[in-house]
């Protein structure tokens, strides 16, 4: 279970998270939504301890991770898989080496077992036979799939997705959404997706948390959020700009 209590974070004078509190139950699928720059990705990185908060708590399965040092955090991170916005593949390694990175470093499996696991996850993300390719030879959608394969090969309990469909065409975005749902159902994992893609959030989120100016502005099932009459939520989910906001060209 993920518990976040009164999380606050500023970068210089800019307040990014301003007292965030929520819980995510095991097996739940949550979409964190909000406009670009509202602090969604920063919040996601707090959940896995990549960023330390100024104050507040992040508790993973009753363990207060904000108090842990980097080496202690490594053990907690074993429960997580994370797909980055840019996929963040290691460009000096090929696809198979990227995916099997953790398994090779742990040295608990034989090379044959590792190869089988790589093949299995590549099948799951629909990229069989790409083991020898370098990340530079892959398209944006393929890179995200490899990133996801790398995040799930060691069977984590929680998978975090940072803008999984950003920069992809609608067809590839749809296939990534389907993949997120398939992975969730096959591996029975907790899923946290940060996105501003309304189609994606409706599809992958069983519950939606909407962030505005560093706070949780609204929370609820997708139907409730999408039918909300609150002007801020309505404008966001329907992609309507605020006429009062100044647009600088």
């Amino acid at each position: 279970m993920i518990e976040v209590r009164d999380l606050k974070k500023s970068f210089g004078s800019q307040k990014v998270l301003d007292g965030i509190t929520f819980n995510i139950e095991p097996g739940e699928s949550v979409a964190i939504i909000g406009r670009s720059g509202c602090g969604k990705s920063v919040l996601l990185k707090h959940l896995i301890g990549l960023i330390r908060p100024d104050s507040g708590e992040v508790i993973i399965d009753d363990e207060h991770i904000t108090a842990l040092d980097e080496r202690e955090l490594l053990k907690v991170r074993r429960k997580f898989g994370m797909l980055f916005q840019s996929a963040a593949l290691f460009d000096s390694l090929n696809v198979a080496e990227n995916i099997s990175f953790v398994l090779r470093r742990e040295r608990q499996l034989t090379q044959k077992e590792i190869d089988e696991r790589v093949e299995e996850v590549l099948e799951m993300v629909e990229l069989p036979g790409t083991q020898k390719k370098k990340p530079s030879e892959l398209s944006g959608g393929m890179r995200k799939r490899v990133g996801l394969a790398r995040a799930i090969i060691y069977k984590p309990e929680i998978v975090l997705y940072d803008e999984p469909t950003t920069g992809l065409d609608p067809i590839v975005s749809d296939s990534i959404d389907q993949l997120i749902i398939r992975v969730r159902e096959r591996l029975k994992i907790t899923t946290v997706v940060v996105t501003h893609d309304t189609r994606s959030m409706r599809r992958v989120g069983q519950r939606i948390l909407m962030m505005v100016q560093g706070k949780i502005y609204a929370a609820g099932p997708p139907e409730e959020i999408f039918s909300s009459e609150d002007p801020v939520i309505h404008r966001f989910v329907n992609g309507i700009s605020d006429p009062k906001e100044e647009v600088i060209f």
Binding site: L74, A88, D91, F101
Partner: protein, 256 residues
């Protein structure tokens, strides 16, 4: 108060570097070093620096021999030429010039590689994969540079002395027997040990500074560029300044 701010920034950098060094020592004592990663870095730092170091060593020895001969010839001390060349190559020019060349080639490459990994979130990805960046990225580079630099320095020393000897005896026609005898008379093993001790320190300093700059680089291409420049400049300055203090320290320790 820009001076106070600069001083604060300098102290902060030193403090952060000390923490990184502490983390490296912690990783080393917990045997986090992967032998394959170390071999790869030894190849990158040691083998790939061969041409640079060989040219530097050879031409430094040759220039030094020619210049020393031109001065010594005036006072009829031609056969003492190689004594100067060998002592200089072993105790100062070998380690310092090799250090500076490696700082330029390897320091820049380490800072640029780690910096690019940072701005493309690859270091964050590493952390999410339960791998400490110090164990995977920093430790093999530090250990490899600390091993490779004395070896490269030894090569530069040998080549510099060899090339200097060739210039003195073949090109400048100085008697080889007296040149050889004088060289051995004024050169002691401690000149070489002192130079190699400095090289160990320079190897550790170059890799520590470059890893630190790479891991702490700013955003985007500009950040990577700045980190790379700073890594080379800071490593080179560290080599030049520390060389003075190391000369005094090593001279005191190895003094007969």
């Amino acid at each position: 108060m820009p001076i106070v701010r600069k001083l604060n920034h300098g102290l902060l950098t030193l403090g952060q570097m000390s923490f990184l060094f502490g983390e490296i020592m912690r990783a080393l004592t917990r045997r986090r070093l992967n032998f394959k990663d170390l071999l790869y870095q030894l190849y990158q730092i040691g083998v790939m620096s061969q041409s640079v170091v060989l040219i530097t060593g050879a031409f430094t020895g040759m220039v030094l021999a020619a210049q020393t001969y031109l001065q010594f010839h005036k006072v009829r001390m031609d056969t003492a030429t190689m004594a100067v060349v060998s002592v200089s190559m072993l105790s100062q020019l070998g380690p310092v010039l090799t250090g500076l060349m490696v700082a330029g080639r390897v320091g820049a490459s380490i800072a640029a590689e780690l910096g690019t990994m940072k701005v493309t979130e690859q270091i964050d990805a590493l952390r999410t994969l339960a791998t400490h960046p110090v164990d995977y990225l920093v430790l093999p580079r530090i250990v490899a540079a600390t091993i490779a630099l004395p070896l490269l320095t030894a090569e530069a020393m040998a080549l510099g002395i060899g090339a200097g000897f060739y210039v003195t005896t073949v090109l400048l026609n100085v008697d080889p027997t007296y040149t050889w005898a004088n060289m051995l008379k004024y050169t002691v093993p401690n000149h070489m040990w002192g130079g190699l001790t400095k090289a160990v320190f320079f190897g550790a300093a170059i890799s520590l500074i470059s890893c630190f700059k790479g891991l702490n680089c700013g955003e985007g291409a500009e950040g990577v560029g700045r980190a790379t420049t700073q890594a080379v400049v800071m490593s080179s300055i560290t080599i030049l300044i520390s060389n003075f203090f190391l000369t005094l320290l090593v001279g005191r320790i190895l003094a007969p």
